[in-house]
Assembly symmetry: C2
Homo-oligomer: 318 residues x 2
């Protein structure tokens, strides 16, 4: 069965749920209109995922890591499309109220069927629902190439509570949520954006800088360091390694340092706050202290007496 | 020369201009942050353009209309990517303050060179500047397929001043800016979004419903009719025909009715307001009265004594 453009849009609109009071104009007009709460600022982010680069629609295989191939569910693609942007909102410290999503897809003809289209959307909707994110518009297009999905997510936040990359201070402790490495084995498609954790940390603690790990621990720590004009020393033994990283061939620590797409939160705060955070029982996601910000030039990896400077490599698209 | 991902981002960032007071966080963090003016609502829209569907990067040729082939400039692609979204904001009646843009591109390797990348961005920036639209973020990706660009544009508007598709009333006069048809000959790439006109009309008159013509006059009028639960009667002789539509082979009126991508404003208001609008000397863009909203079922085309029902066909992606 073929999926028609207007048929698909109608089907999606019928599943967007009842209009909420904050949404003045939802899907079906030229633009969406949303109520702005008083004294807030708007946070907005956009991300594109591309078939063959960020996911493989029928079979997922990695050129880097052999021996791995599995079917990918359309829901997982929809999930990832939205999750990457939600993760960016988390990295800013999250929003106070609901979130809003605009989603576009350039759909190849071979995927313009209800089986794929409906499941793709279901994957988006399920994750959006979980984080009180309302899909309020989008755009559908066709393509002769791979599937391309762009999600734009925005919401409102207290101005004083926006956590930037540039706030890391000399002496700050570096922390990370969850475990790192090996996301290519599945987590990069199914990860939970750390919105809940970000909001909680932002409300209860004074977080100086934060980023989500998409390019890799080192590459993203480097983004913090450059924006904050500081350096960092990581403690190799304290970096939390995922089971997936251990199952992969090659150096386990390298997977954790450079793997990318962990979508965990990397952040800095004072040592006192850091010590409170790692013993905070309200945080069900584990948080680890992995190093310290310092006035060094670049990023160093420490292991006992050994200390070596490491290159801020990460994934690059071209 | 190759364009690297981070090199391109750096180059773009160096050209985004000084940060303005309303932008708290611009390009270079996980999300952008923008000041919300008091008592306003947020208008947001997103559009995707795809190489081979919405434009051809090296040669532009149409399967529908033969005898036409010309080189397309990268600036024109950038222009169109942003213009389509600006046109959507116009169709809602425009915003009061500055606009903001988030732009993503999935760039094929063959186009990842400075000659293309820089000129693509210049086309976006030039149009954004003209309409006080600040580019505050985006995402770059690679693709094995055609170039895909998504622009998301938002801004703030007075709540009472949002013009929806659903406000057309029985007896309303139907008006359109500019001239219609034949945009495939060039206008679809170089058009000026009718933001200035929309803002002026919205400020000075009581516009009941509005849309921008992207799918074609009939298809978009049908969107207004369905959203407003009304019908329409168009006066064939009053439809403003572009010179391009006349130069094309085939029925001239069909090009004007179904051509699409005119990106003119189609709107309805009372007859009194309509008569004032068409003689308003402050409007430098011509505005024409082309018909009337009525409680008929569907859309009719009238020419002298002839009156026939017409099908709301338009471009569909799949």
């Amino acid at each position: 069965m073929k999926l028609t453009e207007f048929g698909y849009i109608k089907w999606i609109q019928s599943r967007l749920g009842k209009k909420s009071k904050d949404v003045l104009v939802g899907s079906g007009d030229d633009a969406a209109a949303v109520h702005c709460p008083k004294g807030h600022i708007l946070l907005a982010t956009t991300d594109t995922i591309v078939e063959g680069i960020d996911f493989e629609p029928s079979r997922h295989s990695s050129r880097k890591y052999s021996g791995f191939a599995t079917r990918i569910r359309p829901e997982a693609i929809g999930h990832k499309a939205v999750a990457v942007s939600l993760s960016d909102i988390a990295a800013m410290g999250g929003c106070s109220g609901p979130l809003y999503a605009l989603i576009t897809a350039a759909l190849p003809k071979r995927l313009a069927n209800p089986a794929f289209g409906h499941r793709l959307f279901n994957g988006m909707r399920r994750l959006c629902k979980r984080f009180n994110c309302r899909i309020i518009g989008g755009d559908l297009s066709s393509t002769t190439g791979p599937l391309v999905i762009t999600s734009t997510i925005f919401g409102f936040s207290d101005k004083r509570k926006v956590i930037k990359r540039s706030g890391a201070k000399d002496g700050d402790t570096i922390l990370v949520t969850g475990k790192l490495g090996g996301s290519i084995l599945g987590k990069h498609l199914s990860f939970t954006p750390r919105l809940k954790e970000a909001r909680y940390l932002n409300r209860k603690y004074k977080i100086n800088s934060m980023i989500d790990i998409s390019d890799g621990l080192i590459a993203d720590l480097n983004h913090i360091c450059r924006a904050s004009k500081v350096g960092a020393i990581l403690d190799e033994e304290k970096i939390p390694i995922s089971g997936a990283a251990r199952r992969m061939t090659g150096s386990v620590i390298k997977h954790a340092l450079y793997g990318g797409e962990d979508f965990e939160l990397l952040f800095t705060t004072t040592l006192d706050e850091a010590n409170e955070i790692i013993t905070d029982r309200n945080l069900t996601t584990p948080v680890s202290i992995i190093g310290q910000i310092g006035e060094v030039n670049g990023i160093y990896l420490k292991n006992g007496n050994r200390k070596m400077k490491i290159k801020p490599m990460g994934y690059t698209h071209f």
